[in-house]
């Protein structure tokens, strides 16, 4: 790459999807400027200019050109700093398709179900939602077994797209477990995923990048208080 490499990441410290970009940049040993956005205050001019369509983080700005959408950013990082190991996407087209399929599943189907189950006030909807979440986890357990082929990660020997995609939520899960005593990943139901989660979070490339569980737990409490007061005042 050229001598003047300007890499900037707009994000928030708590966002799992921002974490994806951070992990990918770390995996490739890319130096970057990090800009913390205040999404509860007002979004920066740079953010609004760089992501006019969604106005969301993360945004990766590489030599003044913005890339938006977290999985898009991860693939961009992989393709741009392609001389750095490891490869985040596998090399064979079919394996790449599987990595993309399951990442899309996590974001478009599974996580949506989880969020719906978590925020709903209706006990019925929550129960139904959690059923869908659990079904999804069983599918992800099978996916892990198929994709990892006996190795440590979805990506095989090294962290790949699916690891980053699903792994980015793990600290939030752990924080919720601490707060609510509600387990998302169950050692008995999805043993492979459970073990993978611990491996992922303790990996050199991840452990110094993820936010602290306690800090996230505090943040969740703040979010819920905020939601409560909004609900009460309306």
């Amino acid at each position: 790459m050229g001598e003047e490499e300007e890499v900037k990441l707009l994000g928030t410290w708590y966002s799992p999807v921002v974490l994806r970009a951070k992990i990918a940049l770390r995996l490739k040993s890319v130096d970057y400027d990090y800009v913390e956005e205040d999404l509860f205050g007002s979004k920066s001019e740079l953010l609004l200019k760089s992501n006019p369509v969604y106005k969301k983080v993360p945004v990766l700005i590489h030599n003044s050109k913005p890339v938006c959408e977290s999985l898009n950013i991860v693939e961009y990082i992989d393709e741009t700093w392609n001389s750095s190991e490891p490869s985040i996407l596998p090399s064979h087209p079919h394996d790449r398709a599987l990595a993309r399929f399951w990442s899309a599943f996590v974001d478009d189907k599974w996580f949506q179900a989880l969020m719906a189950a978590v925020v709903t006030k209706s006990e019925d909807a929550k129960a139904k939602g959690m059923e869908e979440v659990e079904e999804g986890l069983l599918q992800l357990e099978d996916a892990f077994i198929a994709l990892s082929k006996g190795k440590s990660f979805f990506g095989g020997e090294t962290i790949g797209l699916m690891d980053i995609c699903l792994g980015s939520f793990l600290v939030f899960f752990k924080a919720r477990e601490k707060l609510k005593k509600e387990k998302i990943l169950d050692e008995l139901k999805t043993p492979s995923l459970y073990r993978w989660a611990n491996r992922f979070l303790s990996d050199e490339m991840v452990k110094n990048v993820v936010p602290e569980i306690d800090r996230v737990a505090k943040f969740i409490v703040e979010l819920e208080d905020r939601a409560q007061s909004v609900a009460l005042s309306s």
């Binding site: 898009n72 950013i73 961009y76 393709e79």
Partner: protein
Amino acid sequence: MAERSESEEVKLLGMWASPFSRRIEIALTLKGVSYEFSEEDITNKSSLLLQLNPVYKMIPVLVHNGKPISESLVILEYIDETWRDNPILPQDPYEKAMARFWAKFVDEQIYVTAMKVVGKIGEERDAVVEATRDLLMFLEKELVGKDFFGGRSLGFVDIVATLVAFWLMRTEEIVGVKVVPVDKFPEIHRWVKNLLGNDVIKKCIPPEDEHLQYIRARMEKLNVKSA
């Protein structure tokens, strides 16, 4: 990188009126890939479909040498990576990222919002039409100075956005709402003309009369008033 050989088996489980299925056909045809098409009755899904796509149970599913792939955007990238003639995605990582961004935008924003036009009336419908137009404005701006989203020739975003050209805009006729009027969206209209000048597109989109009939029939089923 797979070499084309006699034993290559490519099968597509699809549905003639589905934009997601047709986009796969466009990609395969652009690349000169022979495939066996299997028409699925989505009201009565085959056991093969359920077996090959247990997660979503939806078409399209591409089967290549016995291995199934689902989700149209994933399939398109797979096709581009496997058959290297007539590339669909740009080579440059930034251009590629932009193409992926716009493709997702079409499917996740435009499609989802535009779908809501059907079955709504009065003020509610006006609001959805407004929302759809706001989204379409982004595409309108992308087309300025270009024949196609892909530049001088058809690319990834064009293939995905056929959903707008030949589904959204065909539905207009039937629901009687000009969601994409030419005075507000001259670039999009110009782009549709360019698409219609392309042999692969002409070959791969559903025939207009049958398609309109099908849309009408579906609306009737949903008890939607036709224009």
